[in-house]
């Protein structure tokens, strides 16, 4: 502490190890991006974006899984977002501390830790078989909705908790009902935080492969789906399919598919960061 006292050797070594560990993460990230772009270079072209699956790696394209992923992410969001926000509002704004509340709360944090493949098994039995949706876009979307539901709930709860109680009290004191207070004051104030959570959960759903494989398999199809009852291919399952093929060229096809997926993820994350940045400073009390 005092000036002139040098750091001991032990401290220097410790500090250096911490530094290496920290920057190791950065190095890994750079290596990941570099190696994938290296493998994809020359393969990611207009032909790849507009072609249907093929046994010939030169002719294989990403169109069908791309359309499939857009369908799935759309329906998943439509289903999961209202329910997730609803559940969070119920927990934070309607339930007072009670045994029931802690049961629901513990349940949600445990759901967030259930491996996604287990949700796939639930979706396979519940949506594919019991509800007779088959191995369809609908079954896949509902399954993914269950996967991201706890993420949306937890993010929304955090956003709601950040709204100061004084706003609620002021609204109640003016004769507003609980729902009017939630709709006119709490939700608008929490919206940036909720939107950030929603977008990040969409990103999670977009990259999720395991439940989709359980629900829909990894088979290829040659037509683009036009109904929620159609079969599907999705980006992550197509990437899995290509990566696990023996021909070396399919590794390049997989890399090109990964780049497409990563582009979507970057767009979603950029949107989340923008919302956080633009609204983060404005709402102060």
């Amino acid at each position: 502490m005092a000036a002139g006292v040098g750091k001991s050797l032990k401290e220097r070594v410790f500090h250096a190890m911490c530094l290496v560990a920290t920057y190791g993460c950065v190095v890994i990230l750079l290596a990941l991006v570099a190696s994938i772009f290296w493998e994809a270079s020359g393969w990611l072209d207009w032909q790849f974006l507009t072609s249907r699956p093929s046994h010939d790696p030169e002719k294989a394209g990403v169109l069908v899984p791309l359309i499939g992923s857009l369908w799935i992410i759309g329906i998943t969001t439509l289903v999961a977002v209202p329910m997730g926000i609803g559940a969070a509002v119920y927990l934070e704004e309607y339930l007072s501390d009670s045994l029931w509340k802690s049961i629901v709360q513990i349940n949600i944090s445990n759901l967030a830790g259930v491996p996604s493949i287990v949700y796939g098994l639930l979706g396979l039995v519940l949506f594919v078989r019991l509800m007779h949706f088959g191995r369809s876009i609908l079954a896949a979307s509902l399954t993914l909705a269950l996967v991201i539901l706890p993420i949306i709930i937890i993010a929304t709860q955090e956003a709601l908790r950040a709204v100061p109680p004084s706003i609620r009290h002021a609204s109640f004191a003016l004769g507003a009902t609980r729902w009017q207070t939630v709709r006119h004051q709490v939700l608008p104030a929490a919206m940036p935080g909720i939107m950030t959570g929603v977008i990040l959960s969409m990103a999670r759903a977009l990259g999720e492969a395991a439940p989709l494989i359980i629900v829909g398999g990894v088979g290829t199809m040659s037509y683009t789906p036009t109904s929620v009852y159609h079969k599907f291919m999705a980006l992550p399952t197509a990437i899995y399919n290509w990566s696990s093929r023996p021909q070396a060229e399919f590794a390049n096809v997989a890399a090109a598919g990964i780049v497409v997926l990563l582009v979507f993820l970057v767009i979603l994350n950029a949107a989340a960061v923008t919302i956080r940045y633009r609204f983060g400073k404005r709402t102060q009390w």
Binding site: S96, D97, P164, S166, I167, R168, H169, A170, S171, F172, A173, L174, G175, A176, T177, Q180, H184, Q185, P188, A189, T283, Q284, W285
Partner: protein
């Protein structure tokens, strides 16, 4: 207490009573607006208010004074049932508003809060426009007509002595107003539900002396129409604005009576000790 809360620290409370610009209402001739009988409040197992019985005279200013944690704010929040919001709060006793029990099962809490408006210690403007802040109460009550809302906004802002300052920027964010303006906006907002009773929880404690003086003038004007109950830490303020004063200590009501009497010839030793600054 911050420096700002003591606008005239060198003047004694007794002086403040004598020098009050405004005439005291005769509380004995006023009707009783609110009547609390043996009111007790518990937070979980802790008792915050203990068997308080007091009458609040109509169209008068009643000040609740006492040291921090004495239960005066808790008592105030019982009058519009804001304590319902707190987990584990339990209330015993009776509060009659115009002779009706506000804690009876038939009472609509939402209606009660429209009749009993409230202004908080820290001004809480909603992050919306000035206009939307004022008309929030009527809006949630179902008033949609824009002209009607405009009329309400104008008359309430006028009453809160804010119209002249904001009439040309009603669509600006309320968060841009100064602290004193925000608090008057909150008063205007409370008036817009057309209440009979106005509860004020240390409305000027976060304001500078000039803004405090404006709020105090406003309180005096408002009592022509409204029954006002104000919680304050500041005894000069209680002496200046109120007609009746109630002294709370450790959850109990020690003494209540006409402000002049309580400040000049308190009956209880503890009241005297408090207002002469021996503790608190």
């Amino acid at each position: 207490m911050s420096e700002l809360e003591k606008p005239m620290p060198e003047i004694s409370v007794a002086d403040a009573v004598r020098d009050r610009v405004h005439q005291t209402a005769n509380i004995s001739t006023s009707g009783i607006k609110v009547k609390a009988t043996k009111l007790s409040v518990y937070y979980s197992d802790k008792q915050a208010v203990n068997e308080v019985t007091i009458d609040i005279p109509e169209r008068c200013v009643t000040a609740l004074i006492g040291p921090s944690g004495c239960g005066k704010s808790t008592f105030l929040r019982c009058l519009n049932r804001m304590n319902d919001m707190i987990d584990g709060a339990r209330i015993e006793g009776e509060i009659l508003l115009d002779g009706e029990d506000i804690y009876s099962s038939k009472t609509d809490v939402v209606q009660l809060r429209k009749r009993v408006g409230m202004v908080f210690q820290k001004s809480v403007p909603f992050p919306k426009t000035i206009f939307e802040n004022v008309v929030y109460g009527p809006r949630v009550a179902g008033v949609r007509n824009r002209n009607r809302l405009m009329e309400i906004a104008e008359s309430c802002l006028t009453r809160a002595a804010l119209w002249d300052e904001v009439h040309d920027r009603l669509d600006d964010s309320a968060l841009q107003l100064s602290g004193g303006q925000q608090q008057r906006l909150c008063i205007a907002r409370a008036l817009a539900t057309n209440p009979d009773v106005l509860l004020m929880d240390e409305p000027a404690s976060a304001l500078d002396p000039a803004s405090t003086a404006r709020i105090e003038d406003l309180i005096f004007e408002l009592k022509e129409r409204y029954t006002i109950v104000i919680v304050t830490h500041n005894m000069q303020q209680a002496a200046r604005v109120s007609d009746k004063t109630a002294f709370f200590f450790q959850g109990e009501l020690i003494e209540a009576g006409p402000t002049t009497d309580v400040f000049t010839k308190p009956k209880q030793k503890r009241t005297e000790d408090y207002i002469t600054g021996r503790f608190g």
